[in-house]
Structures are given as structure tokens and as C-alpha cells.
């Protein structure tokens, strides 16, 4: 029988062979002829993570770090590892109910899945962190603490100049040609923005192998394809953080700005804008909500008045008028003008504070007494100087001077979004007066009123020109970049000396002495400090606002500009307090305190009392408040309903969204906005 069916063994062999050939053909197709599976496998198993470098640190002139990186801790949860948990204990430490604990846990599972960690509680406060750190072993491995670097401002000051970082949006992505990626942080304001290329460092990329549940299991090819992250470089600034803190204290409860510059270098020593805010509000996980609250704030705390606030300079422009007249050669320091209480050179008389004869007998006296007639007159003389008698040419010359002083143009400091103030073109007057105008038309420019506006920074810069006797360096914050390379051109423009006049030093001395007289026995006696020669100039800027649909004159802005010591200037200051009245009342003592703090490095006890007094005085015109209230009433109403809804929702919402944490500060802020009496912090 076996012999009979012998041939069948070959049939079976062929069957086996054919079956195996089918398998081999299939293998050939899968493994050799198609590379699709390679990519699928890589995609399956290799994850690319961006490694963020530490951002650079910013130091003040004494090497104190004023913007640094710090670690906060997030409580993370890995849902699939949560076993035998002491839920009650954890809830007690976090101060949440067990129900909200479960809601949050489910929320994280929905968001990131069971096998990937989620943030359970972001940015733990110190007390909770300490408690958790001691007890975390009880909740491991389901819960663990994870550090997260954020920017921190140890002095809680200089918000406007240091700026903040934030997540990039699609516009930035496009603008930077996709150098950044979604989820990246970059400097969005202030020095953080301006020096972004220096501070950001270089991102690294790490390739890691993940398993079927997307858990990271190790590095890919031992890191052969990884690139290393390079930390951002540090910045040294001219800023004196103590002076900055003092400036911000003085600006409390006020609208306005203080700018202090070192004339020899153009280095900015302090720059405060009122109202300001604690820059730490814009770090970490509450950045967005805090930012939107501040954006809605009618006092505009995010608005940097030092470089964006534009005010008529008032009498503080007078020294510059003198410089132009001197440089043009139309006057000498001994030039005098007979003023009897008003300037009557033009159709309408311009009033002057002083009536006694000889108060403008020469330049020095005219400056000391801030004679309106004198400076109106020399403005006209300067503009009408040449034989051609064409006011257009004369005005264009005058404008050129002003522009070279940095007026009406952007100075170009190292902060983004500076405003340029206002010095109008001749074409403006041509249009307005149908080409028939003369030096009387805009004679108010001579006393800093009319079509002329300046930022506090520009005013401080003018003081630098006088202090330096004819030149200035573009004001800037950063003195040196750590590890500066030849290709770092960011600082090169701050090393250019701008010569703006050809007036000899001796004549400058007279201008300076005139300004010193203002402080010693003129309008700014409140600025006097024993033993320090201060040259200064007060100013009151008229301003108008629309109230109930009518244009009304508002209380004057209070200006004071100065530099000291006069013999060897080390600091130039411009102070403006909006609607504070006469310049001498508020701006002068504030500048004086700043000077003393910087030059003496400290303040005496009575002077600290003075700081406190100023700090606690609120200078905000009721009429301005009314106006703002009216303008904002609709927005406020909306905000009110919104925030009451928000307040009602916030506590339960906390349990719904574990990432949304409600710090007390958030509440404070809502409250501050809601209180009608105190919309300005």
C-alpha cells in the first residue's frame, strides 16, 4: 500500500514549497520593495522633543539680577499609576474636596490619557509645595512634583522695561519664517523682546524612543541625532534697581513717568511709568488671565508712559530755545529783553509770570525766571534770522535743531514701540494757514506749547545734552552683553556720540548756571539738596480733554527736568505727573529724592518720610476719572457682569479645569477694576 501512494509525497512537498514561496513573496513585498513601513515605524516609535535652554539673566549696574529664571513646581499626576492613594490626605494638603479631586483626575485622563502625565495643580505656592515635598512619598508614583522654569523678577519692579515672555502666536510664526514653533516662548515686550536673540539661547532637540502607549522609554540611537541646547546670554544694564524701585514708589497713585539717564553714557538709570504692575503677574500659568485683566484696566498699567506718553513740554523746552538761538548766533548770553508781564510782539499778548523790570535782563536771569516773553522773542528771532525772511526756511532750520536734539523723532532706545512725540512740518502750517503764516503763528513753540509734544524720555535726553554741553548718546539700558561677539550689532548704535551744537562750553556754563538758579532761588527750590549743585527747569503743560462733548482745559501736567551735579553731571532726570498742577508742586520734590538717592546712595529718615507722603498722595483729577468712567461705562458694565459670572463660576470651575488656578491676585484685580472710585492702581 505504501508503495502505491509513493508519488503523493512529491505532491505534498510541492504544496509545502508553494506555501513557503507565497510567504517569501509577501516578505519581499513588505520588507524590500516598500519603504512606507520604515516611516510608519519611525513615526510610531520616535518622538522629537524640543529642549529649551535657560534664558539669559538681566543684571543691574551693581550686578544684582533683576530678571532671572526660577523654578516653580507643578504637581503632576500619572493616572494609571494611581493606586492605594491616600486621597483624603492629598485633598487636605491641596485644600480641595474629594469630589473635585476626582473631577480633576478624570479631566486629566480625558486630556492626556491614562498613560501620560498631566498637570494636576500648576505652580504650587510655597506652603503647599513644602507640605507636598515632605509627604510626596505617600502619593507616589501616581503623583509627583515636576519643576518648571519660569521668569522671575525678584524686585517686583521694572515691569515696563524688562517686559515679559509669552507663547508665540501665528503672526510671529509667519514673521519669523517659522524659526519658532507652536508652544515656544519668546520675549513679547521690553528688553525681553528687544534682546530676544541674545536672551533666548539655542534650542536643542532630543530624539527619544517611545512605546505603544506613548511613554518615553529611552534615548534614540544613544542621542546620535540630538542637538544640545545652548543657554541664553546674560545682559548687564545701567539700571540701578534701588533707584528704579524708588521711582516706582514715587509714581504710585499717579499717572506719569520718571526717566533718569546717566549723561556721560546715555545709560538709563531708572524708568518708571505710573501706574505700573508687578511683572511677576505675567509669568507662569496665570499670564493670560492677568494680562487680559490689565489690558481692560482703564488706567492702562501696561502702557509705558516714559516712552509712549506724549506731553507738551511747557517751560522745560526753554533751555533748548536758548541753545538754538545761541547756536544760530542771534543772541549772546548777555542778550536781554524788557518784559512787563507779557509778550506783545504778536497780535495776542502772551502772559508772563513776572512783572518786575529786568527779570530777563540776560539769558541766565531769563532762564532762572522762566520768562515767557524772552523765550517767545528769541524763538521768533531764531526763526526769522536770515536775510531771506522766509519763515518756512527758518522754521525748517528750527525743526532740524529740535530733531537733532531727539525731539519729534524716535530716539531709538533698546525698547520696542517707542513713540516719537511731535514737531510738525512746515507743510502743516502751510496747509492750516493757506501758506500765509509767520513766526507769530507758532510763537507758542518758544515756550513749549502748541504743536509740540515730547515723551519723558526725550525730555531727559535734552537734559543730557545740556549736561554734556552739546552731545548725547542714545539712551539705552544694556551696557554689555555677556560673551559679546562681533556679530552682536545690537549695541553698536549706542556707542555713537551725537554732537548737536557748536556752542562753546563757556556759554553752556551760563545756560547751566541759569538752570541752577531755578533750583537755588527760582521756581524749583523744592529740589534743593545741600551740597549738590542741581540744574533744573520746571514746566507746566497745558492740556485739554473732551468732557461731556466739550473741549475743556484740564489741570496742568507737572514737569520737572534737571541734572546734577552741575559741575560734573552724573544723572539727568525728567519727571512728569499728569494733572498735578504747577511743576514745582510734585515733580520737583520727586526728582530731588531721585537725585539724592542716586548721588548719595541713600536717603535720610525725613526724606524717606517724604517718599511715603508722595507715595500715598493720589493725584488723579476727578474730572479725568469722570471722563474715564464715562468713556468706560459700557465696557465696565460688561466687565461687571462678566466678572460676576466669572466669580460665581471660578470656584466650581476650578474643579472642572485643573489647570485654571485662581490666585488671590486675580480676585484683587477684578475688585480693583470694579471699584468705581479706584480704577487706577
Amino acid at each position: 500500500m505504501s508503495v502505491f501512494n509513493q508519488s503523493r509525497q512529491n505532491v505534498i512537498r510541492v504544496l509545502f514549497l508553494v506555501a513557503f514561496i507565497i510567504l517569501v513573496i509577501r516578505l519581499l513585498f513588505l520588507q524590500v520593495s516598500s519603504s512606507k513601513y520604515d516611516l510608519l515605524a519611525l513615526d510610531n516609535a520616535v518622538s522629537k522633543t524640543v529642549v529649551y535652554p535657560d534664558r539669559g539673566i538681566i543684571f543691574d549696574r551693581k550686578g544684582r539680577s533683576i530678571l532671572e529664571n526660577t523654578l516653580t513646581y507643578d504637581l503632576m499626576v500619572l493616572p494609571n499609576a494611581v493606586k492605594n492613594l491616600d486621597t483624603a490626605g492629598l485633598c487636605k494638603i491641596l485644600n480641595i474636596s474629594e469630589k473635585s479631586f476626582h473631577d480633576r483626575l478624570i479631566g486629566s485622563i480625558i486630556k492626556n490619557g491614562k498613560f501620560r502625565p498631566s498637570v494636576f495643580e500648576a505652580a504650587l505656592n510655597t506652603a503647599t509645595f513644602v507640605q507636598l515635598q515632605e509627604n510626596i512619598f505617600r502619593f507616589e508614583p501616581g503623583f509627583y512634583l515636576q519643576e518648571r522654569p519660569i521668569r522671575s523678577y525678584p524686585y517686583k519692579a521694572a515691569a515696563h522695561l524688562l517686559g515679559y515672555v509669552g507663547e508665540v502666536d501665528s503672526n510671529i510664526l509667519k514673521r519669523t519664517n517659522f524659526y519658532y514653533q507652536m508652544g515656544d516662548y519668546m520675549g513679547l515686550a521690553g528688553l525681553e523682546r528687544y534682546y530676544e536673540p541674545i536672551l533666548m539661547g539655542k534650542r536643542g532637540i532630543r530624539y527619544q524612543v517611545k512605546d505603544n502607549k506613548n511613554r518615553i522609554v529611552g534615548s534614540y540611537e544613544n542621542g546620535a541625532y540630538d542637538s544640545v541646547a545652548v543657554a541664553g546670554r546674560n545682559l548687564n544694564t545701567y539700571l540701578d534697581i534701588e533707584l528704579q524701585v524708588l521711582a516706582e514708589r514715587l509714581m504710585k497713585n499717579k499717572l506719569g513717568a520718571i526717566v533718569a539717564i546717566e549723561p556721560k553714557t546715555g545709560g538709563i538709570l531708572a524708568m518708571a511709568s505710573g501706574p505700573t504692575y508687578d511683572p511677576n503677574l505675567l509669568t507662569g500659568s496665570f499670564r493670560k488671565s492677568n494680562f487680559s485683566f490689565m489690558l481692560r484696566d482703564t488706567a492702562r498699567p501696561l502702557f509705558n508712559r516714559a516712552i509712549k506718553g506724549q506731553y507738551a513740554p511747557g517751560s522745560t523746552i526753554k533751555p533748548m530755545g536758548a541753545l538754538i538761538a545761541l547756536d544760530e548766533g542771534v543772541i549772546t548770553p548777555s542778550f536781554g529783553f524788557a518784559c512787563a508781564g507779557a509778550y506783545r510782539g504778536c497780535n495776542r499778548p502772551i502772559a508772563c509770570e513776572h512783572k518786575n523790570g529786568g527779570h530777563a535782563a540776560n539769558l541766565r536771569m531769563a532762564l532762572a525766571n522762566s520768562c515767557n516773553s524772552y523765550f517767545s522773542h528769541i524763538y521768533r528771532m531764531a526763526v526769522d534770522n536770515r536775510e531771506d525772511r522766509d519763515v518756512r526756511l527758518g522754521y525748517a532750520r528750527w525743526k532740524k535743531y529740535m530733531n537733532s536734539f531727539g525731539m519729534g523723532v524716535r530716539l531709538g532706545l533698546d525698547l520696542p514701540s517707542e513713540d516719537k512725540g511731535l514737531i510738525t512740518d512746515t507743510s502743516f502750517y502751510d496747509k492750516l494757514y493757506n501758506k500765509s503764516w509767520n513766526s507769530c503763528t507758532n510763537v507758542f513753540l518758544g515756550i513749549g506749547q502748541g504743536e509740540m509734544q515730547a515723551t519723558p524720555l526725550q525730555m531727559a535726553n535734552l537734559m543730557c545734552i545740556i549736561a554734556n554741553k552739546g552731545y548725547y548718546y542714545t539712551p539705552h539700558f544694556v551696557s554689555t552683553i555677556e560673551n559679546e561677539q562681533p556679530e552682536d550689532t545690537l549695541l553698536s548704535k549706542f556707542k555713537i556720540r551725537h554732537e548737536v551744537t557748536k556752542i562753546p562750553d563757556t556759554i553752556y556754563n551760563i545756560v547751566q548756571l541759569g538752570m541752577q538758579d531755578v533750583v537755588d532761588h527760582g521756581t524749583a527750590m523744592g529740589a534743593r539738596i545741600e551740597g549738590i549743585g542741581i540744574a533744573g527747569k520746571t514746566g507746566t503743560a497745558e492740556n485739554y480733554g473732551i468732557i461731556n462733548g466739550r473741549r475743556e482745559k484740564l489741570k496742568n501736567h507737572s514737569w520737572f527736568v534737571c541734572f546734577a551735579p552741575r559741575e560734573n553731571p552724573k544723572i539727568a532726570i525728567a519727571v512728569i505727573v499728569e494733572n498735578a498742577g504747577f511743576g514745582a508742586t510734585w515733580a520737583t520734590p520727586m526728582a530731588s529724592l531721585m537725585l539724592e538717592k542716586y548721588l548719595r546712595d541713600t536717603l535720610s529718615a525725613p526724606r524717606w518720610k517724604e517718599v511715603e507722603r508722595i507715595e500715598n498722595t493720589e493725584i488723579i483729577l476727578p474730572v479725568v476719572k469722570m471722563k474715564r468712567n464715562k468713556l468706560d461705562s459700557m465696557r465696565r458694565e460688561k466687565l461687571k457682569t462678566q466678572s460676576s459670572r466669572l466669580n460665581a463660576k471660578l470656584l466650581p470651575a476650578q474643579s472642572k479645569n485643573p489647570l485654571r488656578k485662581t490666585e488671590p491676585i486675580t480676585y484683587l484685580h477684578i475688585d480693583a477694576i470694579l471699584k468705581d472710585e479706584e480704577p487706577f492702581c
Binding site: 514549497l17 513557503f20 510567504l23 517569501v24 516578505l27 513588505l30 516598500s34 510610531n44 512605546d211
Partner: protein, 445 residues
């Protein structure tokens, strides 16, 4: 005195033993590659906690078992074949009251920490019983009665296994029909079986009506070709018409009936998934639990095959090297160490490694056929063909399913897949063959 050790090693086919050792070692290495997780390797192998150390441990047990089998007299197997067969059937029946539910199967008995899957073990007994029956003295396999009886020997345990929800294991028993073919079962039975299978597959692939039309055209074609014959032979006409009617009947009625009433929905789903189609169930007739099960199986089945194809495909020509496979090392392929162990080879050693492994299996199968044909006794030959058939079925179906050309029916790759029962079963199957072959000069009944 005669040297006793020379006595037992005499006639042993060392080639098979070596191939066996290579395959088991490759298997342990693959399990190691699939499950190694940065622990100390020495510790891992000695701890008996990792899968690869357990497999090593099973290998040791198998080695002892193999030596025992080689020490056994061949007559023992012929003498006890029937007893073992009935013991096996009893065990299979005992499973029903005493089974433990493990991963949805009802085929495992567990006592004092030891798991036993009689359906797996029964392959050995069926093979022995079949050999015993076909080698009986008064056997005339051309008659229908012994053919039916032999089929019954195969089908009884197969049906019992299907009842335990182990369709995959049950299908293995059908490979014994290859043995029956070798022993004289008319070829047309296998051809018809294959034709029916082809028809069933076509039923899945092609629209019912179109298939019916195609079948009709084929029938008309045959009628046209044999039109001269038909005049003389009316029976041929009837035959063609009957075959046509049968085929259409199968594809129009039998298959749908079988799918909706006999097979479980998830099984139908798997069969459909293999040919790349979605199974349209009449949802109203199904319970919610069934629907859920279909959904799960559908997801799992598709996912397994997709990941397995990615793993093997990403291996390329030369592979990524042992422990370098990103897919097989990080649990992307489910059941990696058991049914999908071939992925490790495919990813780690690429096309080259895969064809070497396939070549090894094919070599082993041809070797077994050679051995079968050199036996003097029918018992040994039938047994050898049984071993070859079972191995072939396992290897082809298992590798075929990792490559996505065969439905996922969850049967292990001989000698390589992780699992004690399977390794022991295959070892016993093989070593009984080696023992019988060593005594090939004897006539066994």
C-alpha cells in the same frame, strides 16, 4: 556487556535534533528581544520571572522529556496509542466542567498553579491514534468505511475544541487530512475541499449576484465545451448542472447561513478582515454584548496586523539588529512574544533573517517527509506525516497572519512562540518521531 548509551543514540536523526535546538534557541532569543527591559541580563535569565527565563526553563523541561522519550521503547507508543487517545478525549470533555476562564478561552484546566490545555496536547494523541488505526493489519484505506472512521478520529477532538471557543486550535486538526491523502484518500476530496474553501473566499470578496453570474457563465462554458459529449452522455449534463447548483447554493445560502448561525460574529469579522473587507452585520439580530465584542475584536485584529506589518516591513533587507527594533521592543505589536514572535525576526534581522528562518522550517519539513518515506512500518510513516502536517499548518498560518495574508486565528509558531504547553507539545511530537525513526528497522503495529 553492550554499551547501553550507544544503544539509545543509535539511529537517532541528529539533523532534526540540531534544527530543533536552533529553533528553540532562536525562539528564546526572540522572546528576550521582545520583552527585555534593561534589567540585568544574567539576573533576567536566572530569575524565572521574565518570559525569556521561563521559556528557558520550559526548554529544560522539554530536554528532560525528550531524553525520556528517547529512552522509551517504540512499542510503547503503538501499545498505548488508543489509550492515550481516549484519555485525551476524556480530558477534552473534562475541560467543560473544570475550565478556568483565561483571556476568553474556555480550553484551559488549572490545578495548583499548573495550566493545561488539553486541546493543544491532544494533537499528539490524535496523531498516534491515527497512525495506530491506519497501520492496523486488516486496513484497506480504499474503502469508504475506514476513511470515515479515520476522519472521525480527527474530527471528534476538533469539534470538542471548537466548542471550547478555540477555533484556531481546532483548525490544526484539519491538517491531518493531508496524512489521509498520503495514505490514499482520493485526491478529489481534497480538491473539492479546497474548491469549497476557494468558493467561500470568493463569496466574501465578490458581490453575491456577480459571483452567481460568473458561476453561471463558467457552467455554460463547460456545457459549450462538452456539447458533443452531452449528446451521448446525459449524466454529464446533469453533473455540470448539479455542480453549478451546488456552487451557487453554497455562495448564496450556505455561506451566509453558516456565517450568521454557526460562526461567532467576531470570527466572521476576522475572516472578513483578512480579505480586507468590513463585515456588514444585521445589527438588529445581535445582542449589545455581541456588537461590542465585534467592535473590540475588529479593532484589536486590525491593530495587531497593522502593527505587525509595520514591524516586519520596517526591518528592511538586513534588519535593524537584535534589540534595535523599535516596534517589537516597545510593545507596539500585541501578543508579541506568543503568536507574533515572527515580527521580532522580521524587524531585527530583516528579509535575510526571515528567509533563513523560513528555510530552516522548510528544511525541517522536507527532512520529516524524507524520514517518513524511509520507514518500514506504516505506523511510523503515518505518524511522521502527521508531524509534518501539523508543523506545516502552524508555520504557514502563523507567519501568514503576521504578514497579513491569513486571518488572525492565534496559533503559535512551533518551537519559537512563548508558552510551556505549546513548546512541550511540539517537542513531544518531534521526539516521538525521532524515537520511531531510530527504530525504523522494526515493524510496528
Amino acid at each position: 556487556m553492550r554499551n547501553h548509551s550507544a544503544e539509545i543514540t543509535k539511529g537517532i536523526d541528529w539533523t532534526l535534533v540540531v534544527v530543533y535546538a536552533i529553533l528553540v534557541t532562536t525562539g528564546i532569543m526572540s522572546i528576550f528581544a521582545a520583552t527585555y527591559r534593561d534589567e540585568s541580563i544574567l539576573n533576567g535569565f536566572l530569575s524565572f520571572k521574565t518570559d525569556y527565563s521561563k521559556q528557558l526553563y520550559y526548554f529544560a523541561i522539554c530536554a528532560v522529556l525528550a531524553i525520556f522519550i528517547l529512552l522509551t521503547d517504540s512499542k510503547f507508543f503503538t501499545a498505548t496509542a488508543n489509550i492515550f487517545y481516549f484519555l485525551g478525549i476524556v480530558l477534552l470533555i473534562l475541560v467543560f466542567p473544570f475550565h478556568t476562564d483565561v483571556k476568553g478561552t474556555k480550553s484551559i484546566i488549572r490545578f495548583s498553579g499548573f495550566q493545561l490545555q488539553p486541546a493543544e496536547l491532544c494533537k499528539v494523541f490524535v496523531n498516534l491514534a491515527l497512525a495506530k488505526y491506519l497501520s492496523s493489519l486488516d486496513m484497506n484505506f480504499k474503502k469508504t468505511r475506514p476513511q470515515l472512521l479515520a476522519s472521525a478520529v480527527i474530527l471528534v477532538p476538533a469539534i470538542l475544541t471548537i466548542l471550547q471557543s478555540e477555533t484556531g486550535l481546532a483548525l490544526v486538526y484539519f491538517s491531518f487530512f493531508l496524512v489521509l491523502y498520503r495514505e490514499g484518500l482520493p485526491a478529489y476530496i481534497l480538491v473539492i475541499g479546497f474548491a469549497v474553501a476557494l468558493l467561500v473566499v470568493l463569496t466574501l470578496l465578490v458581490d453575491q449576484n456577480i459571483l452567481a453570474i460568473i458561476l453561471t457563465f463558467i457552467a455554460l462554458f463547460f456545457l459549450y465545451v462538452s456539447r458533443k459529449e452531452l449528446k451521448r452522455n446525459r449524466a454529464l449534463f446533469l453533473l455540470i448542472v448539479a455542480v453549478w447548483a451546488l456552487c451557487v447554493g453554497i455562495q448564496r445560502f450556505a455561506v451566509p447561513y453558516f456565517f450568521s448561525n454557526v460562526l461567532k460574529p467576531y470570527q466572521v469579522q476576522r475572516i472578513y478582515a483578512t480579505v480586507g473587507k468590513d463585515y456588514q452585520v444585521d445589527e438588529s439580530t445581535l445582542s449589545e454584548a455581541d456588537l461590542k465584542k465585534i467592535e473590540e475584536k475588529k479593532k484589536a485584529g486590525n491593530y495587531n496586523v497593522k502593527q505587525s506589518k509595520i514591524a516586519i516591513g520596517s526591518g528592511g533587507f538586513f534588519g535593524k539588529g537584535l534589540l534595535k527594533g523599535t516596534q517589537t521592543r516597545y510593545d507596539f505589536v500585541p501578543e508579541q512574544r506568543t503568536d507574533f514572535i515572527f515580527c521580532t525576526i522580521g524587524e531585527g534581522f530583516g528579509f535575510m533573517g526571515s528567509i533563513i528562518l523560513l528555510g530552516l522550517y522548510l528544511f525541517m519539513l522536507f527532512r520529516i517527509i524524507n524520514i517518513a518515506e524511509r520507514q518500514r512500518s506504516t505506523f511510523s510513516r503515518v505518524y511522521a506525516y502527521g508531524v509534518a502536517s501539523v508543523f506545516f499548518f502552524h508555520v504557514f498560518i502563523n507567519i501568514g497572519m503576521t504578514l497579513g495574508i491569513v486571518p488572525v486565528i492565534g496559533i503559535p509558531l512551533p518551537f519559537m512562540s512563548y508558552g510551556g504547553t505549546a513548546l512541550i507539545t511540539f517537542t513531544v511530537l518531534l521526539f516521538i518521531l525521532i524515537r520511531l525513526d531510530a527504530d525504523r528497522q522494526m515493524i510496528l503495529r
